[in-house]
Amino acid sequence: MKSAVVVFPGINRERDMMLALESITGQKPLSVWHTETELPKVDLVVVPGGFSYGDYLRCGAIAARSPIMSDIRAKSLKGLKVLGVCNGFQIITEAGLLPGALVRNASLHFVCRQVKLRVENIRTFFTNRMAKGAVVSCPVAHGEGNYICDAETLARLEGEGRVVFRYAEGTNPNGAMHDIAGIVSETGNVIGMMPHPENMIEPLHGRTDCRPLFESLLAA
């Protein structure tokens, strides 16, 4: 499983993501700078978390229009797997790879804590090693993770089982509609999520709940 991690100015979770990918899939991911115009040949591209462009204008807005994103969009239409985590979710949503938007947390506070996630869809490339309905612990760290979309989109997401992760046990940290923490595209090859599974995979992290998510990549 060959992967690449895209790096924008202001991104800061790329090394955690690369370590997680390398330690679990056994292959070192490539690092791709945002000014590149063509992705290397990979099976998965990850847009990691951080604060691309200092969150100027809107979170992820400027990164979403960077040169590499055109190629990511084009290749995603041909089936390339794309995973966006935290700022990465904001970036791929701003880029139009996923519907809806991520807006300011309802509390107005930046939240940095562990939440509970319920895995709602186990047919995706990132959840196929999970049990449906399993609840895992996962950290979040964001100020704009409040997922919103119009009623029609929400009905489609729910009707098509495209909500992959939902905040569980009353731990919704941001006011997201229907406790949505992560969604998948209609085509199944693009996933975006606010929580940071790459930070819950080693005993040093306190728990290893999110290892099976990365192990899913091996079967995908």
Partner: protein, 79 residues
């Protein structure tokens, strides 16, 4: 030519910042503040001198970057 662009959240999109400002105005004793919505304002200096071309260019800028039309509306004024 200068373009003044106002970007506002669409009706129905939660605006927690506006709500916080609304609360703070109340705490300061400003009575009768019924509702506050926060938006963004941009001033864009353009080399273009043709009004129609400038309007079209700024509209494209708004659609492509300045506003997220999933959640925001924009209003352009050319001066």
């Amino acid at each position: 030519m200068k373009a003044k662009v106002k970007v506002t959240l669409k009706k129905g999109v939660l605006d927690p910042q506006g709500k916080a400002i609304e609360g703070a105005l109340g705490h300061l004793g400003f009575a009768g503040v019924e509702h506050v919505r926060q938006g963004k304002y941009f001033e864009i200096e353009l080399a273009e001198t043709d009004r129609a071309k400038a309007a079209a260019a700024v509209k494209a800028m708004c659609e492509k970057l300045i506003a997220n039309t999933v959640i925001e509306n924009y209003d352009i004024e050319l001066a």
